[in-house]
Amino acid sequence: MAELQFREALRAAMTEEMERDENVFLMGEEVAEYNGAYKVSQGMLDQFGPKRIIDTPISENGFSGLGIGAAMMGLRPIIEFMTWNFAFVAFDQIVSNAAKMRYMSGGQLKVPIVFRGGNGAAGQLAATHSNSTEPFYANVPGLKIVAPSNPDDAKGLLKSAIRDDDPVLFMESELMFGMKGEVSDAVDYTIPIGEARIAREGDDLTIVAHSKSYWLAMEAAEELSKQGYEATVIDPRTIRPFPFDAVIDSVKKTNRLVIVDESQPFGGIASEVGFQIQQRAFDYLDAPVQRVTAKDVPAPYAKNLIEAWMPSVDDTIAAAKRALYVN
C-alpha cells in the first residue's frame, strides 16, 4: 500500500494500462505539455511521447468524435475533459455515437473508450462550471458511468474502465484531486465495475452516496452515531450499472433509506434510486425514502448561496432524522 493523491492514483492507473497495452492513448486539452490542467497526467508525455499523450485544441466535440472513431478501429482512447462541465459541447458524440454505435450496427462495432475528467461543483464557480452531470448520461443506455470516492477506488476502477470494451464515463470530483489515501500497489489491481462498497455498517438506516457526497454521508453517519443511530453507508462507485442489489439488501435490514447526490433533484440519480427501492423493496420500508441533493436552481456564485445550494452534512442528518421519525 502506498499513500497517493487522487490524481496520482488516476495517473498510476493510466500509466500501468499504457505500459500494458500499446493501443491505449490519452488525449485532451493540456494533457501533454502542460502536464494536465489538474496535473493528473504529469510526466506522462515524457514517458510515452507525443504519439500517445496528445494535446488537443479546445474542441471537445471534435476530439471526442476522433476518439470514438479510433475506438471503432480497435484503439483504446482515454479522452480527458478538463471538466465534465465542458463536455456538454461533446454531448452529441457521447450520446449519439459512443453510446449507440454498437446497437445501431447490430453488434458489429464496439467502442472501447474512456471519457474522464473533473465533475461537479468546486467552490464559487457559478452556474456554468458547477454541474454534476451524471444524470444526463445515466439516461442513455449504452454508456457505463463510474464515480469513485477515494484514490484506491479511482485506481482500481479506472484500470477496469480502460480495459472495458464498452464506453465508460469516468467522473472525478473536482475538489478531490488532492485527496490522499492508501492505494493498493498489488500487481494488476482492478476493481470490477458495478459493485458497491459497504463503507460502514449499522442497523438503523441506510445512506447511499457516491463521489464527493460519500464523505458528507460518512460525516453525517459519525454524527448520527454520537446521537445513538447507526447507519450503513453504501458507496455505489458505479452509477450505471447501479448496484441496486446491495442497496436492497441493506434496506431489508435497516428499513430506512437516505440518498445523498450532488446532482439536481428532478430526474436525478437520487430520484432513480428512490424509485427502484420503493418498487423492489416497498414492503421493507418503514419510512418514505429521503433524498439530499443540490437545490433545484442553477449554482449561485456568492459564498453563502453556494454553501446553501450544495448538499451538506446538516442536510443529510436532517434527512436521516426524517427517515427515522425523530427530530
Binding site: 476522433l66 449519439s96 446497437y103 450496427s105
Partner: protein
C-alpha cells in the same frame, strides 16, 4: 474597409442573382453555362491544376448523347435526347461561379467531364462493366426501395442517393478495400458500392432480422465492418469527427489506410466539421473530408445557407488542400480520387467538394418545391449512369444487348433482395435487449 465593402457588395450581387435565377430558369441555365466556362478557363490557368486531357470534338459528345438517347437506361433520368443546355466539357457545377483562390492556396480542379478515357485511367473493360453494374445496382435498389416505401413495406426516413452514383462508385474503385468509409444518412449508395449485399441492405430497410444491423439501424444506419464500412449516421455532421478518428487509427496503427468521410453540404455549417477539419490538419491525418455537395441541404440551397459557396475552400483556414470534383462523371471522380488518395496516405488531408445532384427529394416526404422543373431538366443530361453507358457504346466496349443483360441481372438481384427481405422474420423481441453492451451479462433493468 474597402475590402469589407467589396464583400458586402458581392453578397448583395449574389442575393439578387439568386432572386433572378428563381424568376427565370432559362436565364439561370445560361448564366451557369457561362460560369462553367469561366471555371474551365481558370482551371487551365491554375498552376496546381492537373493537365486536362485534350478536348474532344463537340460532335463526339453529341454522338455520346445520341447514343444515350437511343439506348437509354430505362427509368434513368436523362437519355431523352433533348438538346443539352450546356456547352463545353464542364457539366453544370451549380453555384461554382468564381474561383478566387488565394495565391498560395493548394486547390485542385477536376471540373471536366468526358476528359479521360478508360485507357488513360488504366481501367480495363471488365472493370468498366463492374462499375456500370455497381452504379446500376445502387439505382435499381433504390428505385425498388422507393416502391416498397410506397407500399409501406419500409418505414422511417428513406433518403435516396439516385443521381450521385458516380461519387460512390468512382471513390470506391479508386481506393483500397480496407480504407475505412463513413457517411451520413444517405448511405445506401456508398454501402452498396463498398460491397454490402443487396439482401442485407433490403432486409435492413424492411426492419428484418437478416438486415445488416439486425433490424436496429434502418435506412440511415447501414454498417458492414467486414467491408470497412463504418455507417450510416443520422445526425448531420456528427460522423465527421468520427471519420477523422478512423484516419487517426490508420496513422496510429500504421495501416497505410486513408479514411473517406462523406457528408452533405448542409453539414459543413456544423461546428463538428470545423473541429474535425482542424484536427485532421493539425495531426496530419490521412483523411479525405468529402462533401457530397448536391446543392441542397434538405430544401435549402447552398446559396441560401453559406457566406461562401465554394466549399472546396473550407479547408483553407486549416492549410488543407481543396479539391473541386465534378461528381457526375465516374471517370472524373475516379481520376481525382486516385490522385489525392495517394497523397493523403502520407498524412495530407484534403477538403473535397464533390459537386453532384440528387434527382429525388431530400427524403420520401419531400415535395421538392424549392427547385424548378427547368433546373431538374437541365440536370438530366448529366446522369452518371447514362454517361457511362454512352461511353461504352461509343467506344464499342460493349454491345447494347450485353448492357441490357447486366441491367436485367441487377434487377433480378434486387427483386431477390425484396423476396429475401419479405421472407426474413422480424427480430425476436428479446433481441431488443442485445447489442447494447459488449459485456453480455450487463444487469439490465426491465
Amino acid at each position: 474597409m474597402a475590402e469589407k465593402k467589396t464583400t458586402s457588395t458581392a453578397k448583395k450581387a449574389t442575393a439578387s442573382k439568386t432572386a433572378a435565377s428563381k424568376a427565370t430558369a432559362s436565364k439561370t441555365a445560361a448564366k451557369k453555362t457561362t460560369a462553367s466556362k469561366t471555371t474551365a478557363k481558370k482551371t487551365t490557368a491554375k498552376k496546381t491544376t492537373r493537365k486536362p486531357a485534350p478536348r474532344k470534338a463537340p460532335a463526339k459528345r453529341t454522338t455520346a448523347r445520341k447514343a444515350a438517347a437511343e439506348n437509354p437506361v430505362p427509368g434513368a433520368v436523362g437519355g431523352d435526347g433533348a438538346p443539352s443546355p450546356i456547352e463545353g466539357q464542364s457539366l453544370n457545377l451549380g453555384h461554382a461561379e468564381a474561383i478566387n483562390a488565394p495565391g498560395d492556396a493548394d486547390f485542385r480542379f477536376y471540373t471536366e467531364v468526358d476528359a479521360y478515357t478508360h485507357e488513360e485511367l488504366g481501367l480495363d473493360v471488365e472493370t468498366l462493366l463492374d462499375m456500370y453494374r455497381n452504379m446500376l445496382m445502387q439505382r435499381r435498389f433504390e428505385e425498388r426501395a422507393a416502391q416498397m416505401y410506397g407500399r409501406q413495406k419500409i418505414s422511417g426516413f428513406l433518403h435516396l442517393y439516385i443521381g450521385q452514383e458516380a461519387v460512390s462508385t468512382g471513390s470506391v474503385w479508386a481506393t483500397r478495400p480496407d480504407d475505412p468509409i463513413i457517411t451520413a444518412y444517405r448511405d445506401h449508395g456508398l454501402g452498396l458500392a463498398r460491397g454490402m449485399s443487396a439482401n442485407a441492405c433490403m432486409a435492413e430497410l424492411f426492419g428484418k432480422v437478416d438486415g445488416s444491423s439486425r433490424g436496429k439501424g434502418g435506412s440511415m444506419h447501414f454498417f458492414d465492418v467486414s467491408k470497412h464500412f463504418y455507417g450510416g449516421h443520422g445526425i448531420v455532421g456528427g460522423q465527421i469527427p468520427v471519420g477523422v478518428g478512423l484516419a487517426f487509427a490508420c496513422k496510429y496503427k500504421e495501416t497505410g489506410g486513408v479514411s473517406l468521410t462523406y457528408f452533405g453540404d448542409g453539414a459543413i455549417n456544423q461546428g463538428s466539421f470545423h473541429e474535425a477539419a482542424n484536427l485532421a490538419a493539425l495531426y496530419e491525418l490521412p483523411a479525405l473530408l468529402i462533401c457530397e455537395n448536391n446543392q441542397y441541404a434538405m430544401g435549402t440551397s447552398v446559396e441560401r445557407s453559406r457566406g461562401s459557396v465554394d466549399l472546396y475552400k473550407q479547408g483553407y483556414p486549416y492549410d488543407m488542400a481543396g479539391v473541386l470534383i465534378n461528381g457526375m462523371d465516374v471517370f472524373t471522380v475516379y481520376k481525382a480520387m486516385k490522385d489525392i488518395t495517394d497523397e493523403a496516405r502520407e498524412g495530407k488531408p484534403f477538403m473535397v467538394d464533390m459537386r453532384t445532384y440528387r434527382y429525388r427529394g431530400h427524403s420520401m416526404s419531400d415535395p421538392q418545391k424549392y427547385r424548378t422543373k427547368e433546373e431538374m431538366e437541365a440536370k438530366k443530361d448529366e446522369d452518371p449512369i447514362v454517361r457511362l453507358k454512352a461511353y461504352m457504346l461509343e467506344h464499342k466496349l460493349a454491345e447494347n444487348d450485353a448492357l441490357d443483360t447486366i441491367d436485367d441481372e441487377v434487377k433480378q438481384v434486387v427483386l431477390g433482395a425484396v423476396e429475401f427481405a419479405e421472407n426474413s422474420p422480424y427480430p425476436p423481441v428479446e433481441t431488443m435487449y442485445e447489442d447494447v453492451y459488449v459485456q453480455d451479462d450487463y444487469p439490465f433493468i426491465s
